[in-house]
Amino acid sequence: MSYVRLTNVTKRFGRVTAVNSLNLAIEKGECFSMLGPSGCGKTTTLRMVAGFEDLDEGEIRVGGRLLSSRTRNFYLPPEKRDFGMVFQAFAVWPHLSVYENVAFPLRIRKLSAAEIAARTQDALTSTNLLKSAQDSPENLSGGGKQRVALARALAINPDVMLLDEPLSSLDPHLREEMRFEIKDLQRKYGFSIIYVTHDQSEAMALSDRILVMKQGVVQQIDSPLNIYNKPANKFVFSFIGLHNFLSVNPLPDGTASLDGQRPLPEALAPPGELRDAGPLSLATRPSEIDFSTEGHFTATVTRKSFLGEIVDYQLTAGGQELRIQKNRRVPGPEVGETCGVLLLKPYWFGENA
């Protein structure tokens, strides 16, 4: 029995369906990310779990407790749900000290003074904030503010932690550091995480499972490696990292050609189930292509940029653009040269899928 359970959850804003009959089960202690472009419904979903939005259909349960249900016309307000939540813009209260920010949820619950002190102390210790306990959060850096927000969310020792793009207001290097801190806190306290982000590498690095969403509809729910390695469709593939899409026409003999002109070798034939699907997309990642004399087809280098550790090539093949990134130590062609390219990991999708 999974811990957080969303059944047929649907939310509409006017005529727009923000979330369309979403089913979701998240285990206890799991780190679950919702990934997608802005407006895909991931934040709305999180806010429905938090209780800031009611739902138009379906129900949400956590640990067997009913939180929202349309059919039973039941809705538990956010202040009664006992979640921890961290927001993008920190949302720490500038008029309260760091300590009072963290103690706030405990004071609301009218715990004993000793208990409040102990729990606040614990949350501040876990987030390395003991030294700044009496400071105003205004004087802290972005990373410091976000630690206060985390400590405040931890204080009540919640079973579920809701994180709404918590790192996107931070510098890139700080972002990476905080990512690990969140993970360490989860290990220590054992809460489940529902994490909303539009940054794929953040989701990859942090999550046990990822949900990729587009226009309110689930595209794939899987482990990070499977999302990367076995994308369910073209959208999922395009959303994770850099990508090349080549338009390809299937030929009657089971092979295919690069837009009518160049037949591709048999080694690069589309899978059987897609042969009758009309024009296809041949998808590859720039890092998964080699220069090779025994390549699948030839292409001409139009741009070459030295980016430090890697060199970035742009090529054209039959009027279509192809991008390749190689370690700077791998020898490669110069601008204007034509060379063979070998697709190490080709993916096939229907053109309009």
């Binding site: 009664k80 939540m85 813009a89 720490v92 500038p94 706030f104 609301i108």
Partner: protein, 563 residues
């Protein structure tokens, strides 16, 4: 050749700086300095003993006390009323919130002394329509409410000043990052707790800042106290200055009292402004954020429609009723008659617009004075702001200090200062001419112009000007082609910010007018004093029409600029 070009730039910069300093010194600094000089400098030496002697005189002491009482009452009342309505229209599900929000801003454009006039007609102890209604119809012995009282004065000032707090708090509540409140909710706090422990503390700096603004305004406010207080012997600082200067024209003792009182005003104003800076500097939290959802909205449930009813009633009583009374009394044949159709006509309006020399002069004076003051102050303000905001020249610090002055000098102080400066003692005598009023208007409204123009100039990033230089434009060409077109909205705003209030100006003009240089405000006030209540009301009605028309034009224009 190249060195020459640099020198030209520098000369131009110094010329502008010098001119800016000269304007502020002549228009603002000299009058204020003369006030201090007259107050603290007697017979060639510094003299503080006499200053205290003046302050201890019963009349003076009472006026100081009254200013304090009235200002405190007004501030307190306005803060409560302003904060409550601001909360109501931003944080609850009150019906027609947007419309109500607009209505609460209407008192901003109504002159409070015209409001005071209307309330006098409604609630003066014997002749007030409401008091008479109760006494005649219900047979009450005594009047229901005597408007000639501290409470009356404070109530009327609150009606017209609370928008200062209202607008500040509305802005703060609307800009506030809703996740600050959501974070409290997810922490387990209910809406009432959030309002008390999160929302109110976060907007407290805005509330205080608005409250101090009202304090400043009310301390130095002339009109309401003049209309409602003098009758009953209630004077505050500005009205006492007026009384002394006006009644005992030019005697040494009265000038002395006037300058001492004016000094007190300037010092308190400077203190209030300093305090406001302190509150804003320390407490203006970074509570604004990017990504936002709708803020938590309190459901009024059963109170929804009653609350709307209350708001409508408030607006009806404080705006519609007084305005209607002004127009109705303006149409009466004789003051005191009941409002029935046979007593009402447009004759009074026709008379004051086309026949009565005093009011015709007043309207003409006010319009020309307003236009001239707005025009001159707008250009002077843009130049001074440019030096302060954009130029890197030595000696700018002094100008910045001078630029702060207009903000802390109340109207009656300016009037007294220009009397001291321009009455012939220093070679130029403008007294009893329209020019002295013009000079005083420029000094009084310089703050508005500096504020609007600096704000506009801050928006013009340096790189926009540097880009022009890199394109081959010299300094003057850059000013003409880039800077001026970009600050035009600010200049236009400054123009109207000066022109409209000057149409209803009373505090300054009342101290400076001569028989032929009455302004609209002076004419309304003196007609009322002379018992010509119906003419006074008719002229007030016309002033209201002018102001409302002007305001509508501004709103249209600024909407166009923003869209």
């Amino acid at each position: 050749m190249s060195a020459l070009a640099k020198k030209n730039d520098l000369d131009a910069a110094h010329f502008i700086l010098g001119l800016s300093i000269a304007i502020l010194v002549i228009v603002v600094a000299v009058p204020v300095l003369l006030i201090f000089l007259n107050a603290f400098w007697a017979e060639g030496k510094f003299n503080i003993v006499d200053v205290f002697a003046v302050l201890r005189e019963p009349d003076t002491y009472q006026a100081l006390l009254n200013s304090l009482i009235i200002a405190s009452g007004t501030t307190l009342g306005s803060t409560v009323v302003g904060t409550f309505f601001a909360w109501l229209v931003t944080r609850t599900d009150l019906p027609f919130k947007k419309f109500m929000r607009g209505m609460f801003l209407v008192p901003f454009m109504l002159p409070s002394f015209i409001g005071a006039l209307a309330w006098k007609m409604l609630l003066s102890p014997r002749a007030g329509y409401i008091n008479r209604l109760f006494m005649d119809v219900f047979g009450l012995e005594a009047p229901v409410f005597n408007i000639y009282s501290y409470l009356g004065i404070v109530a009327v000032e609150v009606m017209y000043l609370f928008p200062f707090v209202f607008i500040q708090v509305c802005g703060a509540l609307e800009r506030m990052d809703p996740t600050l409140e959501e974070a409290a909710r997810i922490s387990g706090a209910g809406l009432f707790t959030i309002t008390r422990r999160i929302t109110i503390p976060l907007v407290l700096p805005s509330i205080l800042s608005g409250a101090l603004l009202i304090m400043l305004y009310s301390m130095a406010h002339f009109g309401t106290v003049a209309v409602l207080g003098i009758e009953n012997g209630i004077y505050n600082i500005p009205t006492l200055i007026y009384e002394r200067i006006h009644q005992s024209a030019g005697s040494f003792a009265s000038i002395r009292t006037g300058t001492v009182l004016a000094s007190v005003l300037v010092i308190s104003a400077a203190f209030i402004i300093w305090l406001q800076g302190k509150v804003l500097g320390r407490g203006r939290y970074q509570i604004i954020a990017g990504k936002s959802f709708r803020p938590v909205e309190l459901k009024l449930r059963a109170l929804r429609w009653p609350m709307l009813g209350f708001c409508v009633l408030y607006i009806g009583v404080t705006i519609v009723l007084p305005t209607a009374v002004i127009f109705l009394v303006g149409g009466l044949k004789t003051y005191g008659l009941p409002f029935v159709s046979e007593n009402l006509s447009l004759a009074n309006y026709k008379f004051i617009l086309f026949e009565y020399q005093v009011t015709k002069d007043a309207i003409l004076n006010s319009v020309t004075l307003g236009l001239a003051a707005a025009f001159i102050t707008m250009f002077a303000g843009v130049m001074i702001s440019y030096v302060i905001v954009k130029m890197k020249v030595r000696g700018k610090g002094f100008l910045e200090f001078l630029g702060m002055l207009p903000f802390s000098v109340p109207g009656s102080v300016i009037a007294l200062g220009v009397i001291l400066a321009w009455s012939g003692k220093y070679g130029v005598n403008l007294y009893n001419t329209v020019w002295i009023i013009l000079v005083a208007y420029i000094a009084r409204y310089m703050a508005f112009s500096l504020k609007a123009n600096s704000a506009a100039l801050e928006q013009v990033h340096d790189s926009l000007m540097e880009a022009a230089r890199a394109c081959g434009a010299g300094m003057w060409q850059t000013l003409r082609d880039i800077v001026l077109p970009l600050v035009r909205p600010g200049m236009l705003a400054a123009f109207f910010l000066i022109f409209l209030p000057s149409l209803r100006e009373l505090t300054v003009s009342i101290m400076l007018y001569a028989p032929t240089t009455r302004t609209i405000g002076v004419a309304i006030y003196t007609l009322n004093e002379d018992g010509e209540t119906v003419f006074s009301a008719a002229l007030a009605g016309i002033a209201l029409l002018l102001i409302i028309t002007g305001q509508t034009i501004i709103n249209r224009v600024s909407a166009k600029y923003q869209g």
